[in-house]
Amino acid sequence: MSRGFQYIKNLIQKLKIWIELNKKSIAGWLELESHISYRFPVIESIIGMFLIITVITILTGSLGFWKLTLHQEEGNQLVASSDDIGYADSSPLLSIPLSFVFPLVILIPLLVSYTTARGFETGTTKTFLSYPISRFQFLMLKTLSGICITGCISTLSIIFGSFVVGRFMTQLSILMAIIIGIWVLIIFIVSMTTFYAILLKSSIATSFLGIGTFFLGTISYIQLGWLKGYAYFPDSIRGILNPLLLVHEHLVRLYFDSPLLPPSFEDVMISITLCLIISTLVFVLTWKIFEHSEVK
């Protein structure tokens, strides 16, 4: 165990030294990437889209209504206990991420096809690679920028939503669980669609294949949930299809009296870990393919 920690510590130390030595180059790459892939209004459109979804969810959904169970005490006095309110308190936080699922599934493949696959068609990838940047660094830059931009915008939208409905950060554990679910889903979609982009080098094929894969994954997740009562299918495996929905299902069934058994915490953790492992493996495979492919 201690050897493992020592290894991670050394790795972080090496990364720190590398960043210190390459500070100027990193700033240059970021600037180049922002000018090539994230020109106005790419980031602004994503922010606008997530804000519209958040505000519409707040204004038209059940968001902002805390379900309570009222009990009649002596003298016909109705009382709602603090426990009930504590559980109900989480309801606003749980509505926003659910409305993010399909937009994320559609948006990220489109973004990756625009930032990564289109570069092969227009020749910007070749221009980018003529700078002193290795193919691994190029791939890391493309992947991390996609993950960070969509992840940060969706996280800030959730925090803004919980602030608007008036229960800001009261259920920190739930907020954290939802944010982790969103980030894992984003990492998974970005790594998978980057793989399609590098393999196919076509923006149209990347966007269609990316949307198709995760759309079918989400639909299959829901279908397998309906089958749950009839046949056993492990939640940990089902969660790989859409980790955010598994986190959401776990929280909703745990906090609201659901007749169905919630997916266990272990299942959620296994599913998240598997998603991250698959994403890393897909990234390594993408890197190996990119190393040996010709860029025109």
Binding site: L59, L68, T69, H71, V165
Partner: protein, 181 residues
């Protein structure tokens, strides 16, 4: 990188502000709540379903029972600011509205102040009821409106400061200077 951030941050703020204000203007706050009780509901043992909500402007309520059975609907001012305490719901006499023994209703509730309110439905007799109540908030959501105005204002100010101020403060061009310099 700094020049990129200097240009993009005000643009992002302007987009956030415009998005919030337009969405707020186009979409009404409305929500449908369902209250369902079986026949011979024992209020003392099983309790009632209620919804706590935050309101700042008057609300419009439209409710109807699926099979025409009778119900009563109440809206109370909760007078609470935190969820950490037990909520004592006032007696019937102090309800903002108390509509009893009806099969459907449409009513506007006058909200006295910005705060938390409670809505609940009870069966008027021993018959089972399923009541769908649609609640429409009138006026704008103050938090979203204020956030929109502040971000839009900040974005516009920074844009003006970055783009227009240098033009105004720069002196006349020297003779013979190339175009666009």
């Amino acid at each position: 990188m700094m020049s990129f951030l200097k240009k993009r941050i005000p643009m992002i703020l302007v987009v956030i502000g415009i998005t919030l204000l337009i969405t707020l203007y186009l979409v009404n706050f409305s929500s449908t709540l369902t209250f369902s009780y079986p026949a011979n509901q024992n209020i003392k043992d099983d309790g009632l379903t209620g919804y706590m909500f935050k309101a700042q402007n008057d609300i419009f309520i439209r409710a109807n029972e699926r099979e025409g059975h009778r119900f009563s609907l109440y809206v109370f001012d909760l007078n609470v600011t935190t969820s950490e305490v037990d909520i004592q719901i006032p007696q019937n006499g102090t309800a903002l509205i108390a509509v009893e023994n009806v099969t459907s209703l449409e009513a506007t509730v006058v909200i006295p102040k910005n705060g938390f309110y409670l809505i609940y439905v009870t069966p008027a007799n021993t018959l089972p009821i399923t009541v769908r109540a649609t609640i429409i908030m009138t006026g704008l959501n103050f938090t979203i409106f204020l956030t929109g105005i502040i971000t839009l204002g900040t974005g516009v100010l920074v844009l003006l400061f970055n783009e227009i101020l240098p033009v105004l403060t720069s002196g006349p061009k020297e003779d013979g200077a190339p175009a666009g310099s």
